[in-house]
Symmetry: C2
Subunit: 313 residues, 2 copies
Amino acid sequence: MSLAVGVDLGGSTLRAALVDAQGDIVRAVRRPLGERSPEAVVDQLALLLGELAPPPGAPMAVGLAGSIRSHGGVVALAPNLGWRELPFGALLAARFGGARLVNDLGAITVGEAERGAGRGARDVVCVFVGTGVGMGAVVGGALLEGHGGLAAELGHAKVVEPEQGRLCGCGERGCLEAYVGGRHLPALLGEQLAAGVASDRFRADDPVLASVDAAVLEEAAAAGDPAALAVWRRAAELLGRALGTVIAVLSPRGLVLGGGVLRRAPHLRALVGERLQANGPRPQLAELVIRDSELGDDAGLVGAGLLAHRERR
Amino acid sequence: MSLAVGVDLGGSTLRAALVDAQGDIVRAVRRPLGERSPEAVVDQLALLLGELAPPPGAPMAVGLAGSIRSHGGVVALAPNLGWRELPFGALLAARFGGARLVNDLGAITVGEAERGAGRGARDVVCVFVGTGVGMGAVVGGALLEGHGGLAAELGHAKVVEPEQGRLCGCGERGCLEAYVGGRHLPALLGEQLAAGVASDRFRADDPVLASVDAAVLEEAAAAGDPAALAVWRRAAELLGRALGTVIAVLSPRGLVLGGGVLRRAPHLRALVGERLQANGPRPQLAELVIRDSELGDDAGLVGAGLLAHRERR
């Protein structure tokens, strides 16, 4: 049986799995991520691989949250790890004889497209809304990379005129992520309250506002709180329109939605579905199957493992 | 020398060329398009091919303006020809032994990507603004088709909330094309005048308004006419933002702009460039080369010929 190693280098956990050529996980291991310097991460990965015990010469792919120049193995930017323009691929090659680097959403997309909610389709788009907004796409059966590996950055597509837009974590204004991403929810709610939208639950000057998350907003929206509903409605309109543009451009067979914010907020998820129907072009929508993600935390491991199989020499 | 036949079935002209494997046109012929029934078009193509005299067995591809279900050879919709859900591929196969059908912008994109303004890049997006808005993309060296061949419909991506959007020729509201396409320019100007924007040249009740085109608007904009400038500014903002989203999603190396409206309106073209810089994500823009189309009417013939070579049995 041919086996590959899929690695998920997350913000707080390092996980690795042996994955067969069909994408089944044969064995998986994990450990909390400690120090985040590149050398320390390589050391921790070596310990984890010792535990996993892959067959000699098994190919490996590593998914991590960040922009990756895919063909050079350089991590252009990984905010969670504090890395910038780091040749992590070369470090992995020196220690383990090489590994493919891939954006975490790219790995998740391959996993969901081949074994999860998008299985059976050759054109699949995956959009996850969590702290930020991540996207991946499989086009004609292959992971979309774009020039230098920078494709599928939907979170930083502009959804309002930038000069009037909200400031995003990337330093630009008007990005989709600044209207939908979990880290922006407290400020988005505060702006609705400041604009005079009524609320039974929240007060603009309440310090607890800073800790509002998707679950709190969802509970308020479910109870009909106008300010919470206003945040969800605007998020759904802008996300639905951006998804509609992606559908117009890529015309995928499958659209897979996931991530912590959408998972914890069924009202938002339903509104996004409605606004996608209103904002998508009908001929492409007619061909589209929309599903929630199915593989959970395994998606990235399965996808990285499948990508590693394809790079096998 | 291996030769293929590229055909451009335009709204008023039928053109065909012998194209070698490098994309050079060896010989080209044309005739005005007469009757547009599918059988009449096949007859006219047969006469044209008689004149072109391709070598026996030369593969053929036909580009035409419309949505094409690429793998079935069915023209889903071709407004210029008045065709809908027409199995044109089967007609071509019966008469000529088969031909690949491709959307005209798909053929143009392959031509420009391989021999024109995008040459040397494996990821190229081509956007033409004429009567409508057309798009094509080459992703990793292959024409982007999407599920069923319906990809790259940027003209029908929604750029404003649909319920408040302008009516597009496709029957939906809020499409990019309704704010940029040449056939909408008279109405767009009329709306600015009706909203009270000043103009030295145009009056809301002047019947000549109905014949305003890109050249007339451009001349007025160049002379500083506020209403003409307002039309161009809104068009540039919405087109620039849509292009920015395409750049975020596909991260191409090359962006090729063309079409009659952009060609005739240098002020609009310059504004679009500015608004793309403001609306695009910086990391992807830094990798992007933006050029005007170079091959003119030959792009579609070259692209169709190259696609035909790739389908050679």
